[in-house]
Amino acid sequence: MIISLNWLKKYVDIDVATDELVALIGARLVEVEAAIDLAPKYKDATIVKVEEHHKIDGSDHLNLCQVDVGKKELVQVVCGANNVKTGMLAVWLPPKSVVPETYGTDDEFMLDSRKLMGQMSNGMLASMRELGLGDEHDGIVEIAPDFAKPGDSFAEKFGLNDTLLDIDPKSLTHRPDCFGVIGFAREVAGILGQQFDEPKILASKLKALNAGNLSVEICDTKLCPRYSAAVVDMKEMPKSSGFLTQDDVILCKAGMRPISHIVDVTNRLMLDTGQPLHAFDYDKFVKVGGVKNPKIIVRAAQPGEKLGLLDGKEIIMCEGDIVITSNNVPVALAGAMGGANTEIDKTTRRIIIESASFNLYNLRGTQFRHGIFSEAITRFTKGQPAGLTAPVLSEAVAMTGGRVLDVVDAYPKPVKIKPITVTVEQINAALGTNYIFDDMITTLENVGFKVNINNTAIPIIRKLNAIFDEEERKRGEIPHDHSIQSGVDTLTVVVPWWRTDIHIPEDIIEEVGRLNGYDNIPLKLPTRGYTMVEADELGDLKSKIRQILSSAGANEILTYSFVSERLLNQVGQDPKNSYKIINSISPELQYVRQQILPNLFEKAKENIKDGYEKFALFEMNQVFWKNAGLTNEKVPIQYDNLGVVIIDTKDRGNYYTAKNYVTQLAASLGVDVKFVPRKKSFEVETYFELKRAADLFIGDDYVGNVAEIKNSIADKFKLPHDTAAIEMGVDLILTAVKKSVSEEKFDKKSQFPEVNRDLTFQVKSSLEYAKLEDLIRENLGTQKLWFQINPVSIYQGDDKSTKNISFKLTFASYDKTLNGDEINQIISQITKRAQAQLKAVAV
């Protein structure tokens, strides 16, 4: 949204520099993206008179012109425009000036004196486009002969010594009043601490002139709270003079274009007040309706109804659209665009001007359904107040210059404004300020609020306040709130009708805080007691795991929570078990992922392609699947998972590498983990090779899996065969760790010498390693020794029915130095047991 500073100044005295104003507006109303000073852009543009022109020999369109630039000597300019003629006033851009169209762009075009078809041309005569005021480039700009004289500054005559404020209105969506210069000016006044002088426009009354010809029927006041309309006899439409006017430039500065007298009047008023208007051709309107007396009916559109619009397109209306009809025949898509069937043209004599308010939600729908993003609908979708229609219509009627034939104002259920009661204490308590009664009242009254105080003592108190404050200020103290001490602390605030956003005391608090500047509020930290903050256990555990795994050479990654149906199918997960996104960006992101690993397979593939040969990727994130069901809150059960995939394209990272990561992780978390052969696949982990998969237990708690992925699946991701991966529940680990840590005991080391013994058993091939290790552990445990068991190797020779498992045992007694016999005794106990229970033969 563009706001002209000159236009603002019509309504408010701006006594601060522009950059300060921009900073204040930014801090107290809305961000100003840029303040564009037009003066340098137009500083050289000069109004000139063409004294003489003739065609250049040999050229089909170039004219040699002698122009009066307000100096003694005429200047010679070559001009290619077909509308150049002797005696006209035009705009001349002299040599060494930059063409305004290119001003401030990356390639500014600087004019000079140069020969064209052998003739010297000094600068140029400019078109609208070259002046940066529009797209027209058919001819040069012409100025009315009595409006200026040669040598006048173009900028001065046309109000271009101006600064444009480029506003990003995204934070003003609840402030329809700020979408007009008047409303914006009111805010600026409030920000500058001035009483806003309400312009007459908003108070102008529609002359009640109901000739009884025109009637308005609103079918649903929710769709259209108010519809005001007037019939105006224009006798004859004022023809465009072809001259550029100041009014045209006003529209150009706001980024709009002059079109015709009536349209321009409605557009200027919209920019000024925020109220969009529309004009119909009266006679066409009557004809379309097929009745003698025109009847405007505003109603919900029937889905499927068709209407040809002004821009030549035909639309099919949908549920939610609002339609203006002439006796039930559609003539406009309300708030969006008029119909071609009632378009004003050269033959138009009488017009109907519409000034109405519509339901913003409906128009938002219309906007998106039909792709109409005009200045008008942008304003309607903020919810223009019903109070605005009549005064703006009255002004519009006056500005057309025609004779009013009929006026109708349908406003079946006028909005009732409820006063808001708020106390001084409430305001200060919410803001953390010490504003006094007076400051608050002035702040609010400056921008049109009426503040009623029923207590007659108030004026005296207010005066007293002022006196006290003055003295306190002199002494450098912060003024007290004397009014609270006087027991009068309630404001009854009457909200002006244009403030559709103010409903509750907090809204008043916002006004006081905002207009006085939030940045003037003293910053003071809240006090807190010395109670302990409860720990974020899951977060802390994740943080630890992150540390452990990255220290073990793994790389933490983040991947999307959404996956494709293709990926789910590739890994054998049922898409029906995934929550499906109905408005996904692409099929690649259509399903909520069930586990972390499938994403890691994809990323591993990409990184292998990038040339990485040995790495481990891990991610911790939430996963969901439908069959898991819902929580008590009726939201999907959430799983906090850890996924790890281990890649080694050369050496075949396999199950045991992954298992080693799990062991390391458990050890760093201070818990033991058990690996139990996995019996069957779970529905969301379909990609594990069951013959090489283990369930992980901490104590009795299941916490996840480590496994090789099926080779058939590895192939789909071009991963090495026997690639191994881990998926664990971080939430499950947390529960298990909390249980087992409480059982953890100090591992007291013996102070006596340690003994090292290598021990090898020959066992059946089918014997699980853990059975043997557990037996040794149990045995050393019962012998009350400090010990460590380190596996050395698992060897198999030609005989595939057996294997040799070797350990290095380190142990010590807690109360003596062990002698040879005692050591042999310990070892033989182990070997005997192993023989008896596992048929393991010590070798």
């Binding site: 934070s171 809204d507 003071k524 903050v533 933490e556 983040l558 909520v592 396999n654 596996p791």
Partner: protein
Amino acid sequence: MDKTKKLLVMRTRELANPRDILKAPELKKLYADIVKQPAEKRGEFGRAVNDLKRALEAEIERLEAAQQDETIQPIDVTAPCGINEPLPEIMTVDHGSRHPLMTELERVVDIYQKMGFEAIESRQLDDDYNMFTSLNFPPDHPARDSYDSFRTEEGFIPPAHTSTMQNRILKAGRKDLETGKHIATVSYGRVFRNEDPDPTHEHTFYQCEGVFVSRDATLGQMMAVLREFFENYYGQKLNVKTQPAYFPFTEPSLEFLIEKPASLGGKGDGWLEMLGCGMIHPNVLKEADIDPTKYSGFAWGGGIERLVMLKYGIDDIRYFESGKLRFLKEFK
């Protein structure tokens, strides 16, 4: 057709080489029959034959995969290493890396925790009530549109902001308020918006959000808390300022800006928009059964990506979820 399909699928399962089924005479005949169909039925028949062929191919693929996986030998999953294989080694620390977003998020949460805030991770799949309704977004309110949220078939929402935890935080803290304590909690985590990714936009990103409620919370306190945070985060004194904003769940609503810190090349001139904030709307408190006439609160929320991008001079937000080791290994 259905019969033939069943028959062929059964036969596929019996074949030594399942792919041979594609040479079955029944299938050839079906293809030959397509042209013999009356014109109006030809399309439908052709599609059915193609569907059948696709079903067979899927079955072949499944069987081939099963055959492939059949050859795998079981291993002893309790062992420390494979038979005749060396004991596996863990990679060294220099290979490892931690994701910069997670590192930064930890740091942010850590500062808030030290300031006295509890922390909880935000849910990544939630409902309309927590995402919108409990936060004073009326149904069909246009403010909902600007969140561009995703939706599942069941109407669940991958949340577009960590405020989706706010109602839960308020409800959980209500008892504390009644015993004279305050609510001070941050929620952090992954959020989602329906936006096409480009160098400055991602549909998946991280936020950290704070909620504070007490008997006497003020806007001045809020700004003091936020300044305290950023001064800690950047390790220097900072000027701060605000801009009015509009959010349905706060009133008043503000954007919070800090002076560009020296560590980011600030020379006391530029400002950085860091987050949105405001006093919690009374309707939001009421929705959690907290009496807004007795208690007041403030809340704020901001993105993590921007902090990381500013810190390291990262120019494309899409790196974060790219999974590229080339990027990740930069962050030890």
